[in-house]
């Protein structure tokens, strides 16, 4: 067995063992840009572009290798097993992947996992080896000392790594690569009892530092990379979006006074994000988590000359810092809960095997949730995200839509067993995560209605969609959540970059009401890509968002027919097992499901509003700006208080580009090409995870179905909780799409009527009341088709976009934000108070008064020092007499 394991391990693809190179490249690029960027002809952007190109190439290679290992197209059909790889050793994997669907795992569900019966899986699962104690072969003699008193499990690991060494793999400097299971299935997780494994993590790590020497509290903290489906997925997303944003930025930020710094920070961000994504230990995760935060800080505050920008940057950082309290404490609790380890794989294994007690898990999950609420903009801690739009638009697309803000969701996935087990409310199937997500998704969606600023609409939309992902993960729909993360990255990046392109044309304003309108005529490419992105976000089939959103709704297992029927087991109803996974099935997730449906409708409605205001009607920005060209556009705008402090460039990117007065124009190719690529991705990535029933119905090869799930969701690795998969339902898909379409039609109708009256208008100026003269009432009722239009558009849509959303926004701005501001102010006041009165008064006062006391007593005593010898003599005699008296009478 060990021979087989060694052989398999030695065949760990080169790219997975050396995946650290991927974050190292942009890190190096950051240093290079800082050092020499300014002196280069393209001001350092060429280094950034070259590094991101290398990252892109390596990521694609890694993705290919991973997908190849799981089975590229052939996971579910025989004919696809060959042809694409040619590597004999992987054919095993493929046939294995093919076998997955036929296996009925009698994995106990979550109910059993937290319950009494311990399955064989638990007894079989072995600790993940620790790089700090397992490197006997490669370490020096000191390390051998540690090896002597590790327990038998670690010895197991040692022998495994020694086998690796024997069979000729690299043995450099204590770095070990552990394939926890291996393609042949002859792993420590034992395939013998009918388990199949898929998507096992490949961990390459080295000892970061040790503490506790050889005492009982010894612990070794390792650092390294963990490659599995989830990290590969993220690698893919980050490298693509970052690459496109780099290209886009060369035009968008061109001529900026800190062009070089901008690219340096982009590189640093890419490095930090990849570092976080690939981290093998939670400690490393914290490092990456905060590093992306600091890049976000730097980029939000890119134009720090204006106070609002640096305020926004500070707010983002501090809000995240609040969440980080939870992150630190949560990780600490996990560290001790899992017997002193930071290893993600080991923590997951223990959580699945039930070796961490429930209290630890719950506390850890709760604390970590705070971190997620801040980083991923979940309700009550989301307020920084809209403010973060003060940064340059490409940054908003990259950091505040596609990658960094999903870090929280990513972490839930990374530590899914912890969250899944930890959030189980005792005795029920309820999962608190689902409710936090649900609240966020609706709250964010409502807020998106009342924004004038196109980027803020998108920001609230991001909040809403992140809520969707958390909702999905909370319901146990792991794949659905991850898939939504994946698709969302593309269409939201597309939308943000589209908004950037629009503002590029509209004098760098983001105000939809005053500076946009009718843009589809002027910038068709931006319009169409934006439309595709919007469609995907709304969930219009067959665009990407439809597939992922549908899966989330399915995952609630509330809609008739979606339940997995038999909780705790995979369902095999002859059509292959179905997509979304869940622990519901008994109506547990009804409320989250309803939230999800409401959001589906809301999303469609507010995005229609954006489209109508931006691209339809007449261009409203021209009149105000006819008298000046682009060069001074910024100044006028800053003065014109449009709530658009962002994107204030020193010099303009396209001084030459206006022969048409103040009218907008299409952006250059460096902006439109990334848009087109993203729009393309937004339309096709949804097909990666089609339900097999759908695939069958279309007569496509069976292997095309739920590829994403196979690639991302691990099976049987012992590090992933047992979750059940729901069955998709055509009627649910129709229902959800219908909801969206109705919203679109209602909102569109509202604006079409408005534009028909006045193409420049953005809202009705005369409300219902002015049209209510009693005599014409009946006529009007008829003319207005019983006011149904008004009811739909004016009252329902208007009511939602008006008072309700405004109230929500008011609460958001005044109460939630107010609390944060008050807390901040109180902190300062308290600090001032304590400093003035307590520190300077009491504590320092005590010190000073002891000095004064010494002085005063001196003042008193100096009276005795009269200089009169006779007085001294008197004292002497007196004292002597006293002493004598004392001795005479006392002794």
């Amino acid at each position: 067995m060990f021979l087989a394991a060694a052989e398999a391990a030695s065949e760990t693809p080169w790219i997975f063992e050396n995946i650290w190179i991927v974050p190292a490249i942009p890190a190096l690029s950051f240093l290079l840009i800082i050092a020499i960027g300014k002196r280069l002809p393209m001001k350092g952007s060429e280094i950034g572009l070259a590094s991101i190109a290398a990252v892109f190439a390596l990521s694609m290679f890694a993705t290919y290798t991973w997908v190849d290992q799981i089975g590229f197209t052939g996971g579910h059909s025989e004919e696809s097993a060959e042809g694409d790889t040619g590597d004999a050793e992987y054919s095993e994997t493929e046939s294995l992947g093919g076998g997955v669907q036929s296996v009925v795992l009698d994995t106990p569900g979550f109910a059993a996992a937290e319950g009494d019966e311990s399955s064989e899986e638990k007894t079989e699962s072995k600790p993940v080896p620790n790089a700090c104690f397992a490197d006997e072969d490669t370490g020096d003699s000191d390390d051998a000392e540690y090896g002597d008193d590790v327990d038998s499990a670690d010895k197991d690991a040692e022998s495994q790594s020694s086998d690796e060494t024997d069979s000729g793999t690299e043995a450099s400097a204590g770095i070990q690569t552990v394939s926890l299971t291996n393609p042949s299935g002859s792993s420590v997780y034992a395939a013998s009892d009918g388990y199949e494994t898929r998507g096992e993590a490949i961990i390459t790590d080295t000892c970061w530092f040790k503490t506790g020497a050889d005492s009982s509290t010894a612990s070794g903290i390792s650092v390294g990379t963990l490659v599995d489906g989830q990290s590969i997925m993220m690698l893919f997303v980050v490298s693509i979006i970052s690459g496109l944003v780099h290209i886009y930025s060369t035009d968008y930020v061109n001529g900026d006074r800190r062009y070089t710094h901008y690219f340096a920070f982009l590189s640093l961000f890419t490095a930090a994000m990849l570092f976080m994504v690939l981290s093998s230990s939670t400690l490393q995760l914290i490092v990456g988590w905060e590093l992306v935060g600091v890049c976000s800080f730097g980029l939000i505050g890119h134009w720090w000359e204006e106070k609002p920008n640096s305020d926004a940057a500070l707010k983002a950082f501090l809000t995240n810092r609040v969440g980080d309290i939870g992150l630190l404490i949560g990780m600490i609790v996990l560290y001790f809960g899992a017997e002193r380890t930071f290893d993600i794989a080991e923590i997951n294994r223990q959580a699945v095997a039930g070796e961490i007690n429930q209290l630890h898990l719950s506390v850890a999950a709760l604390c970590l949730m705070t971190a997620i609420m801040s980083k991923s903009g979940q309700f009550v801690l989301h307020t920084w995200l809209p403010d973060a739009m003060a940064g340059p638009t490409p940054v908003s697309a990259l950091i505040h839509a596609a990658t960094m803000v999903v870090a929280g969701v990513y972490m839930i996935g990374r530590l899914y067993p912890v969250f899944w087990e930890g959030f189980m409310m005792p005795g029920t199937n309820l999962n608190a995560m689902a409710f936090i997500g649900g609240l966020t998704t609706v709250g964010g969606g409502l807020l998106a209605f009342v924004q004038r600023d196109i980027k803020k609409v998108l920001a609230y939309s991001t909040v809403s969609q992140l809520g969707y992902m958390v909702l999905a993960l909370g319901m146990g729909a792991y794949t659905a959540g991850m898939f939504h993360l994946f698709t969302h990255a593309f269409f939201k990046a597309c939308l943000f970059l589209g908004a950037g392109s629009v503002s590029h044309a509209c004098h760098h304003s983001f105000d939809m009401k005053s500076d946009m309108g009718g843009l589809r005529k002027y910038m068709p490419k931006t319009f169409w890509t934006f439309m595709i992105g919007t469609g995907a976000l709304m969930g219009i089939p067959p665009l990407a968002g439809f597939w992922s959103k549908d899966e989330i709704l399915v995952g609630a297992q509330v809609w008739p027919g979606t339940s997995s029927e038999k909780p705790g087991a995979f369902v095999d109803d002859g059509e292959g097992f179905w997509l979304a996974a869940t622990g519901g099935g008994d109506g547990t997730f009804t409320i989250p499901f309803i939230f999800g449906c409401i959001t589906a409708a809301l999303t469609a409605a507010y995005m229609t509003r954006v489209i109508m205001l931006t691209f339809f009607g007449e261009y409203r920005g021209g009149g105000a700006h006819d008298d000046h060209g682009h060069d001074d556009a910024h100044d006028t705008h800053a003065a014109a208080d449009h709530d658009d402090a962002h994107d204030t460039h020193d010099a303009h990117g396209h001084d030459d580009a206006h022969g048409h007065g103040g009218l907008p124009h299409e952006s250059g190719s460096r902006i439109t090409i990334p848009l087109m690529i993203l729009a393309f991705m937004a339309s096709v990535v949804g097909f990666l995870n089609m339900p097999s029933g759908f695939v069958k119905a279309l007569g496509l090869p069976e292997g095309w179905a739920h590829r994403f799930e196979d690639w991302v969701e691990p099976v049987g690795t012992g590090q992933f909780p047992a979750i059940d998969h729901a069955k998709p339902s055509l009627s649910l898909a129709v229902f959800a799409t219908g909801l969206g379409l109705i919203s679109i039609l209602v909102v569109r109708g509202y604006y079409m009527k408005l534009f028909a009256k006045d193409p420049m208008a953005t809202e009705y100026t005369d409300g219902l009341a002015s049209k209510f003269p009693p005599l014409r009432a009946l006529h009007n009722v008829l003319e207005n088709k019983y006011y149904l239009d008004h009811l739909y558009s004016g009252v329902i849509a208007g009511g939602t976009t008006g008072p309700l959303a405004r109230a929500a926004y008011w609460v958001n701005q005044n109460i939630l934000d107010g609390i944060i501001n008050t807390v901040g102010k109180t902190g300062v006041l308290l600090g001032r108070f304590i400093y003035r009165f307590f520190d300077q008064g009491v504590v320092d006062g005590a010190v000073n008064s002891s000095g004064q006391a010494a002085g005063l007593s001196g003042q008193f005593l100096r009276g005795v020092q009269s200089g009169q010898v006779r007085n001294y003599a008197t004292l002497m005699f007196g004292a002597t007499a006293l002493i004598v008296a004392v001795f005479m009478f006392a002794v």
């Binding site: 503490t211 020497a213 590093l291 640096s310 630190l328 001032r832 304590i834 520190d839």
Partner: protein, 520 residues
């Protein structure tokens, strides 16, 4: 030769700076150039020799070194007669706990001297200034290597005087008040500390001041717990004031604000560590049972210091005073780590000391440079540093990030492991209490971010005020500044990513220092 160096290496390192002092005494004070050259040369030679000496470190604790030394000279341990009448001996050693701090001292002093090359503060007199600096150097090195209580005490006090003069002569407008406060406060602590040392000597009755010997004597003897707690209390006052811990911290902001830049840097980088070092070198190993009694109180004061220092920072209007207050908060993390009495905590504390030395030292350097350019440190009047001196501004940004404990920079490894260690303190301590401390300390990280970023925003961001807009004196980083800062900046980055550089050195000594905790 090796034999000779084994026998005399540490002594040579400690007293090398005095050689420079002797040379400088002979040269008239007008020859500033040669004074600077000699001082720098001496510091560099000491640094080089010391660095070479430190490479002999072989992960041995003092106990092991002492045992090996019985059979023959070993590197990094020296023992010779000193004052036989009072049983004081000249025992010096370098182990994992002192090595990082010695390295820090060896590094920081030359850098400060380089910085002084064109930054001699008013009223001038480079000769005296640099002589004091070198005497300080000897004092600091001596304190870190001393293995004998009397020797430790002597060096501990030697440090005091040069710093007193530095603040009192070259300081700001309020220098006399600040220097007297600094001197008396510290002296008061030392007096109690000395009483404790003598009491310890008397109680053990072993006729030795050697640390290892005393630890063994206490462990095998039967000093009543109450007496031990009292003795620990005296040491607590001595070391706690130096740290400084919460209610005893008020000398620090004054001393820092008034001290010249070089004084602030040395004070922050090394002098504060004498206190924390005293705890882990003397108090904990010798009096483990008393340490257990004291730990909850120390931990409590530490977390109060964390929050309190942060709140104090939020109220400051002077940049230097803000940084000084932040030291109270940061040393709170160090003391929290120590109070947990766990190996992780002690390791974190030592890391925290080094990190705080590098980062806060750097921040004081920057504050000094800003003062040179703007002639004020009033935060309200500053602003737009990034516009006028972008490199200086970015360095300030990096250092504030490091100071607020950003992972990936050195500050994090002092804070996070200390917080972590508080989750599960040593066996006899109350877990519940320390978990409360842990949460408070974690909240402190938010406040740290708040005041540091606030500082950064108001000094570096924005646009310069009209007052300084066209001031020709405001230039970017100068050559001497680069030379003295780059090593610190590199270390801040490197330690942030390779924390093992320090953890692996300190670990076994830390475990050794704690071996008697909770045994009884």
């Amino acid at each position: 030769m090796t034999e000779f160096l084994n026998e005399w290496g540490i002594t040579i390192m400690v007293f090398l700076p005095l050689l420079g002092v002797a040379a400088m005494m002979l040269i008239p004070k007008e020859a500033e150039g040669s004074h600077k050259a000699i001082a720098l040369g001496t510091a560099l030679v000491t640094g080089g020799f010391g660095a070479w000496l430190l490479t002999k470190f072989d992960d041995l604790s003092v106990e092991e070194l002492a045992a090996l030394n019985e059979t023959g000279n070993v590197p990094l341990y020296e023992s010779r007669q000193w004052i036989p009448t009072i049983k004081a001996s000249f025992d010096v050693a370098i182990d994992g706990m002192s090595l990082p701090l010695i390295a820090l001292t060896l590094l920081v002093t030359p850098l400060v001297i380089i910085y002084s090359l064109n930054h001699i503060p008013k009223p001038g007199n480079a000769k005296m200034f640099l002589i004091l600096m070198l005497v300080l150097h000897t004092g600091m090195l001596g304190t870190f290597v001393a293995q004998d209580l009397v020797l430790f005490f002597v060096f501990f006090e030697v440090v005091l005087l040069p710093m007193y003069f530095m603040i009192g002569v070259w300081g700001g407008p309020d220098r006399l008040y600040a220097s007297i406060k600094f001197f008396l406060y510290t002296l008061f602590g030392s007096a109690l500390m000395l009483v404790s040392f003598l009491a310890l000597f008397a109680q053990t009755g072993q006729e030795t001041f050697n640390l290892v010997g005393l630890a063994e004597a206490v462990a095998s003897g039967d000093i009543p717990l109450g007496t031990q707690v009292l003795i620990f209390g005296g040491m607590f006052m001595g070391f706690g004031i130096k740290v400084p811990m919460f209610p005893f911290h008020t000398w620090l902001p004054d001393a820092h604000t008034q001290a010249p830049t070089q004084g602030s840097v040395i004070l922050a980088a090394v002098l504060l560590k004498l206190g924390t070092y005293g705890f882990i070198r003397i108090a904990l190993p010798i009096l483990p049972d008393a340490a257990v009694e004291w730990a909850p109180w120390i931990g409590g004061l530490a977390v109060i210091g964390i929050i309190y220092g942060a709140l104090g920072c939020l109220a400051q209007t002077d940049m230097k005073r803000l940084i000084a207050f932040s030291s109270v908060a940061h040393m709170g993390y160090v003391m929290l780590g120590i109070a947990t009495l766990t190996d992780f905590g002690i390791n974190a504390a030592i890391f925290g000391m080094v990190a705080h030395g590098l980062i806060t030292g750097m921040l004081f350097f920057i504050a000094g440079s800003i003062k040179d350019r703007y002639h004020t440190l009033e935060i309200k009047r500053l602003g737009g540093l990034l516009v006028q001196a972008p490199r200086l501004g970015w360095i300030l940004g990096l250092c504030t990030m490091a100071s607020l404990g950003l992972p990936g920079l050195a500050g994090f490894w002092g804070e996070f492991p200390a917080i972590l260690a508080a989750y599960q303190p040593a066996e006899p301590l109350s877990e519940e209490l320390f978990r409360v401390y842990m949460v408070i300390a974690a909240i402190g990280t938010v406040l740290a971010a708040a005041y540091l970023l606030w500082l950064l925003q108001r000094t570096a961001f924005g646009t310069p005020s009209d007052e300084f807009k066209d001031d020709p004196e405001i230039v970017d980083v100068k050559l001497t500044e680069w030379i003295s800062w780059v090593p610190l900046l590199i270390l801040i980055l490197v330690l942030g990513f390779v924390p093992g550089l320090i953890f692996d050195i300190t670990d076994s000594s830390a475990v050794e220092a704690l071996k008697n905790i909770g045994v009884k």
